[in-house]
Amino acid sequence: MITRFLLSNMDRRGLVFLALIAAIGLLVPLANLLMPAGSPLHVSTATMSLWGKYLCYALLAISLDLVWGYCGILSLGHGAFFALGGYAMGMYLMRQIGSRGVYGNPVLPDFMVFLNWQELPWYWYGFSSFPFAMLMVLLVPGLLAFVFGWFAFRSRVTGVYLSIITQALTYALLLAFFRNDMGFGGNNGLTDFKDLLGFNVQAQGTRAALFAMTCVMLISGFLIARGIVSSKLGKVVIAIRDAESRTRFLGYRVDRFKLFVFTVSACMAGVAGALYVPQVGIINPSEFAPANSIETVIWVAVGGRGSLVGAALGAVVVNWAKTMFTSGFMAPYWLFALGALFVFVTLFMPKGILGTAQGWWESRKRPAPVPAAEPAPAE
């Protein structure tokens, strides 16, 4: 049943995407590990980690597209779920440091020693275990989304009001995580990681494995999201997006369907955050910044809202452009470029890169689009 759920009605675009990510996930780590540094086929560890970061963003974009593109919930706080997943992973990595910290305390992370704390806060218990931490990567964002969604969707908060509340949610978390007494390292966040499952996080092999794992998770996330949107539930969710009250009069409990996709999406964003942290080596409260969540919305809009492949594509393209822009003389102008890109896409490519390309492709295939022979409706 699960296989059928994940693979039924796979379209060509989805297959191309899956094949591409699988190929990247296999070939890039090999090119990094096996090719000598001078070879033109060699991929440097820095480049690989950078692209690993883009692919984490792609997973985040897919999770946002699931709620925004398909269910019409414009979440401007999806960065919060991403950051919470990241913090859960960061807490595991902190506990792995053990007595190798600057202060050499076998239990307490450095920042707690610095704050003169005597013992580990209760909510850090268990994070030395990898399976527990991974469970929290899913559970913490999922639970927050569930509780938040429960109240918001039941009281029928929709549209711009919901967007504002999600924005407030991530901003509140930003302020909370900035506080030293929260026990998450304050504004410095969590960093100086040493080991992941006993492997050095800085080592080339670990980096390659993390990259491959990111591809595996991106593929899984895509399959799950696609399974959801191509099921009957996906049709209900699109119906909710287009005519919410009509769907309610058909007997669907709209709040429960929204809650389901919102929670699944938050878990997916959490996984993206957890993969992101060991690859960039730090997690701090700035990940909760409202601007980050808004940027995610732009990726999805640029790539093509309502298309999972489009969302992933948008995340990679915009972030690649961002790297190009911010690492040269153009650096001061990145935000202008991002804004201009958003305006351009909204005005001229309302279906995003993928939607526009598809429209162009179809009009090429059928050169003269004859309007369907339809008896003119006499009205």
Partner: protein, 254 residues
């Protein structure tokens, strides 16, 4: 729920008594009482602002009445339930402005309406069974959209959307259908066909039709209730009602 349950207050399918509701001090419905028997088709007419749509909102749970009784099947208090629960009890509604899911195909529109368990898990792992597919095909045939099943509903003409929505009501298989202005914006030919379709449906469903078009109501040939300023002004066969002095005054106009 077809047969009145032992504790039933009434044998009527739908029973409204002394229902009132006001919006910001404006009394949209005042002391409205109405009963619909199982299997009955009823036409409701009235000038603009008479409370026809508000009455439908109350029956379907969109609006809560300030006072009064609204019972379904003799024993279910509709004022305590929300839209989804009421829809699942077996009350279907067609809106005045045809509301179909524009970005779904016509077939998917029917599939979404098709009577089935509406839970999250059931829809996630949904498989359309043979009997269900047969029913979808049947309905597409009844509303004459079978050859357009793969097209997006948004591409239909106004009249076709009205028919699709009636098809969706059929798929829901409700005990009671509330149909708001089914003939609005239709040609005379389409109107006549719609009347035939509704009469066909009324053979095994109870139907309430709200309509402005007198010719259409005459074609239906059913009992008529006239609403005026939120309560019932007259009730009876069309000829009798249209001979009523007060009705002529408030509605048929002079």
């Amino acid at each position: 729920m077809n047969a009145p349950t032992p504790g039933a207050l009434t044998s009527s399918l739908l029973y409204l008594d002394g229902v009132s509701v006001s919006f910001d001090g404006f009394k949209a419905i005042r002391g409205l009482s109405l009963t619909i028997e199982p299997g009955e088709m009823r036409a409701i007419i009235g000038p603009n602002g008479a409370g026809k749509t508000t009455m439908m909102d109350i029956i379907t749970g969109k609006t809560r009445p300030d006072e009064g009784t609204v019972m379904f099947g003799g024993s279910v208090d509709l004022t305590k339930l929300d839209e989804a629960a009421i829809a699942n009890l077996g009350i279907g509604r067609k809106f005045q402005k045809p509301t179909v899911f524009d970005f779904h195909t016509i077939e998917d529109n029917i599939l979404l309406a098709l009577k089935s368990k509406r839970t999250v898990l059931k829809t996630l792992f949904w498989q359309t069974e043979g009997a269900q597919q047969k029913r979808i095909d049947e309905i597409l045939g009844i509303v004459k959209l079978a050859d357009k099943r793969e097209r997006l509903a948004g591409s239909l003409s106004h009249g076709q959307k009205q028919w699709l929505e009636i098809g969706m009501l059929l798929a829901q298989d409700p005990k009671l259908l509330l149909v708001d202005e089914p003939a609005a914006g239709m040609t005379d030919g389409e109107t006549a066909q719609t009347a035939v379709l509704l009469k066909e449906i009324a053979k095994d469903h109870s139907v309430i039709v709200v309509e402005h078009d007198m010719g259409f109501i005459r074609e239906l040939g059913v009992k008529v209730t006239v609403l005026h300023e939120g309560s019932v002004l007259a009730e009876g066969p069309l000829d009798q009602v249209s001979a009523n002095e007060r009705v002529v005054e408030v509605y048929l106009g002079r």
